[in-house]
């Protein structure tokens, strides 16, 4: 994947397939610690312990349309190739947590890329499921919670073009603000 934000979009699709109703995405960037960490946590149906052992193996997948499962394997390879680590934990019936950690200045670390487009594409695919997104960059924080947006608008789905356009701008501006050098 050319951008870390594409990995994020990809991995959250697993959460939707696992019937999650809430997906929590946290991105932590720290220049001081020279680290970038992505955590995706959902309340989907979870993965059985024996499957968890081999989940990041590209020849393991639960899908039926093809025989390889590349999403988690690619994310794992990306993190491990940047002096980082990959971790997946899951409890059946409770949810799954995926973590990818990168050395921020590693030459092979892909750029984070277009988070606004990733968030909008995620929200479109989520249906009634919700997203809590927190992005920390050098002590500055940006938060977006789709539950709050739905409550304000009195709707159950955000899959309307005017709402999606607003979300895209909101994320774009919010991230520009926290990433400004101060």
């Amino acid at each position: 994947m050319k951008e870390l934000s594409l990995h994020i979009l990809d991995i959250t699709q697993n959460s939707i397939r696992a019937e999650a109703m809430l997906i929590s995405l946290t991105v932590n960037e720290s220049s001081a610690e020279n680290n970038l960490t992505i955590v995706i946590e959902d309340n989907g149906k979870g993965i059985p312990a024996e499957k968890l052992q081999t989940i990041a193996d590209p020849f393991v997948t639960s899908r039926t349309t093809r025989k390889v499962g590349l999403g988690l394997s690619l994310f794992k390879a990306a993190a491990e190739g940047c002096d980082g680590f990959f971790e997946i934990t899951s409890i059946l019936g409770v949810g799954t947590k995926v973590t990818g950690s990168f050395r921020r200045d590693h030459i092979d670390r892909a750029p984070l890329g277009n988070m606004a487009d990733t968030i909008v594409t995620m929200v479109m695919s989520f249906g009634e499921a919700d997203l809590f997104y927190e992005h920390n960059c050098n002590q500055q924080k940006f938060i977006m919670d789709t539950r709050e947006i739905k409550e304000t608008l009195g709707v159950t789905s955000l899959n309307e073009l005017d709402i999606l356009n607003w979300i895209r701008e909101f994320v774009k501006e919010g991230l520009e603000e926290i990433m400004e050098e101060k």
């Binding site: 994947m1 594409l6 979009l9 990809d10 699709q13 397939r17 899908r63 349309t65 093809r66 499962g69 590349l70 999403g71 690619l74 277009n114 487009d117 990733t118 909008v120 594409t121 479109m124 695919s125 938060i143 977006m144 919670d145 709050e148 947006i149 304000t152 608008l153 899959n159 309307e160 073009l161 005017d162 709402i163 999606l164 356009n165 607003w166 909101f170």
Partner: protein, 132 residues
């Protein structure tokens, strides 16, 4: 977040009539494959372009949605267009530039853009580029 949310609410109230129109059942349903294969080959910019074009061209009865892997990963990004009868046209190797033409010709005028479609011969998928 509070201030900006109020602003979204205002935009929304202005557009409420249009939103009600949007739920007509006669329009096209457009589906983009959004699994690892699609995402890696550029499905996200295709999706975003589709969203923008449908919005700016005011195609209120078109709905845009996503699906997982369709099973023809080498032809991704794949866009499927369903009409009101449920008949499907499959566009392959899509790009944001191709999306503009599909929106202008297929979604707005009902004219299929043949050269971007997938063709099936004897149960085998033929890539339009090698059709000859």
């Amino acid at each position: 977040m509070a201030k900006s949310l109020a602003e979204l609410k205002a935009i929304r109230e202005k557009k409420i009539d249009e939103i009600q129109l949007r739920h007509g059942k006669d329009g096209y349903r457009v589906v983009v494959g959004m699994a690892t294969c699609g995402i890696a080959s550029g499905a996200r910019p295709v999706m975003i372009k589709l969203m923008e074009e449908v919005d700016t061209k005011g195609l209120v009865d078109v709905t845009v949605a996503q699906t997982g892997c369709i099973g023809s990963c080498r032809l991704e990004p794949i866009v499927e267009v369903y009409n009101a009868k449920g008949e499907k046209v499959t566009y392959v190797h899509m790009t944001p530039e191709k999306v503009t033409r599909v929106v202008d010709e297929h979604l707005a005028l009902g004219k299929v853009v043949e050269e971007y479609t997938m063709t099936v011969v004897d149960g085998k998928i033929i890539d339009p580029n090698v059709k000859g």
